[in-house]
Amino acid sequence: MKHQAIAWLLAALITLPLAGSLFQLPIQVSDSLEAIVISTKYATASQLLEDSLRFSPTTFRPLRYLQTRWLLDATGAADLTYNAVFRGVHVLLLVLLVVLFVLAVRVRGQTDLAAFAVALPILIGIHTFVAMLQEAFPVNHYAEVGVCVLAVLVLAQRPPRWFFAPLICLLLALALSVIESGAMVWVMVICCAAAGLRGITRTTVATTTALLAGYFVLRHALDIASPGIGGHGSGFGATFYSSEELAQRFGAHPLGLIAYNVAGGLASLLLSEPRQGVYSLAIAWRDGVVHPILAINLVSSLVTTALLVWYGVRHLRAGRASWSDRNRLFVAASGVMVVNAVLTAAYIKDEIISPGGLCYAVAAFIACASLLETLPRRALVASVAIAALLTLDAALWTFRAAGVHYVLRYAAFKTRNDWVEVLREDKRTDWPQDPRELAVTQRIRDEALVRRVASPSFMPRWADRYWVE
């Protein structure tokens, strides 16, 4: 109990300032303003829901606009600023992610606590986490999916209860209705069931599978296609290609790129390389310059991934029947990582593999705890070497986690400046003609401009090289 309390304390102390940095991000212009404007234009929420089903030929995200509408209504009802409400929800999702992570790993003793002290910085420091934090449509759908995925993992470890199946169906429905990555909730259900975690029953598997099938039928009925090659820009080797360039280069023979992307998605989770499909290593090789951030990310990920491999080889050979609860949790988390990489088939984005990033931290916790348990049985020299390696790894991940503040502050500075380009005085002819659209745009812009944020010019000069890619 004492160790668990310390774990909660560590999590709280690290998350609190992170929430502060996240709250400083103004509402984004890209991806957010348009959705907010559209949501204000409709007289009723039901009309908005009906029309939003056909807003895009490749995406089915009915709750995207509806959630925005609810938050706009809440803003009016509570007499708060748009920033306070939208960023407040964003912060709430961050807190939920950390809370669910702590619940998922279940710290039970001194060894677990030490492993937790390694895994928590991994959770926050992995590149997929900060990428996820920066998203907003204007609600952070990737974080919503992350919360749902971790919630399933938490439930899966408990003895089955009658309400688990409907609750997990609800989580899946929520996740699927905000973004396609929501399918990862179903993947988590299947991985937990395959690993033999007791909270996932056949009923849960059957109902969630039926729900997912219904989702695809609905998409088909609405004639919504999946984005293919060229739907989004992505990298190949040392170069990032625009969507048009990708379609031109790989559109006729996409299999090679698909294989590259899937392998790259998994490599990105395990080695922090590539990023958005681009290998910084290849760039470093070409230019003869290795930036410190590349070395830090690569070494920290390599050590942690080696730990996962060690755990897998050592504990999973015996077969499913003899697996412990921790073994099963490890298998479920690893399975999600692998399947998550498949979602990057058309293009690689750090946000897409963010559920895998959460699972990476869970798997790292289990492997680290297991390795620490072996220390008393090892020779002194080996124990010291392992402890030193783990401390180095923890230090590197902690450094990466601290960098999230810098990245968020930098993003806040950029986002606030983006608003200067909206409703420009010298381009009044471009201003919206619709009075409601103009009013809401003006209000969000005013809110963003009055929120003072730190300028990178007054932050540490070295930070760019160590924390920004």
């Binding site: 304390l9 102390l13 998350t15 609190l16 502060g20 401390t391 902690t398 500075f413 009055v450």
Partner: protein
């Protein structure tokens, strides 16, 4: 445990004391540091975009502070977007100032700035003191 505990302690400190609070800057400093949003906020609060303001050392010059107008800061920082924003929000450039700015652009070359300042011919900069030369050291 140690790195994580250090981060937690730092986290507690950052929560109480605040991590990287927004700096108080003059309008010219905001422009010099690419902070167009802060510059616009200051103008909307009533700051005159045609007045000279102090810019601390290290922003436009390496080792001494200068006093320049926001428009001069935009030229010095090679920020065409900032110059355009200033001109759209009340900044003006008279004939003499235009010559100084065009000469300054010759030192801090930027095609976007050049375009905004008009004239494509190289200016006659004989006897022109650049804004950063006027500094009181």
């Amino acid at each position: 445990m140690v790195p994580c505990v250090v981060l937690a302690v730092l986290g507690a400190w950052w929560t109480v004391a605040g991590l990287w609070p927004a700096d108080d800057v003059t309008l010219s400093e905001a422009v010099a540091t690419r902070n167009n949003a802060e510059a616009l906020r200051l103008i909307r609060l009533g700051t005159n975009p045609n007045e000279p303001f102090r810019v601390r050392a290290g922003l436009l010059t390496s080792d001494y502070e200068v006093t320049v107008t926001p428009v001069e800061a935009a030229v010095g920082a090679q920020r065409a977007d900032a110059l355009r924003m200033l001109l759209a929000n009340g900044a003006t450039i008279d004939g003499n100032e235009m010559r100084v700015l065009r000469c300054y652009e010759q030192v801090r070359r930027d095609s976007g700035i050049r375009e905004l300042l008009g004239e494509s011919r190289a200016p006659d900069c004989d006897g022109v003191r650049l804004p950063v030369d006027r500094a009181a050291r």
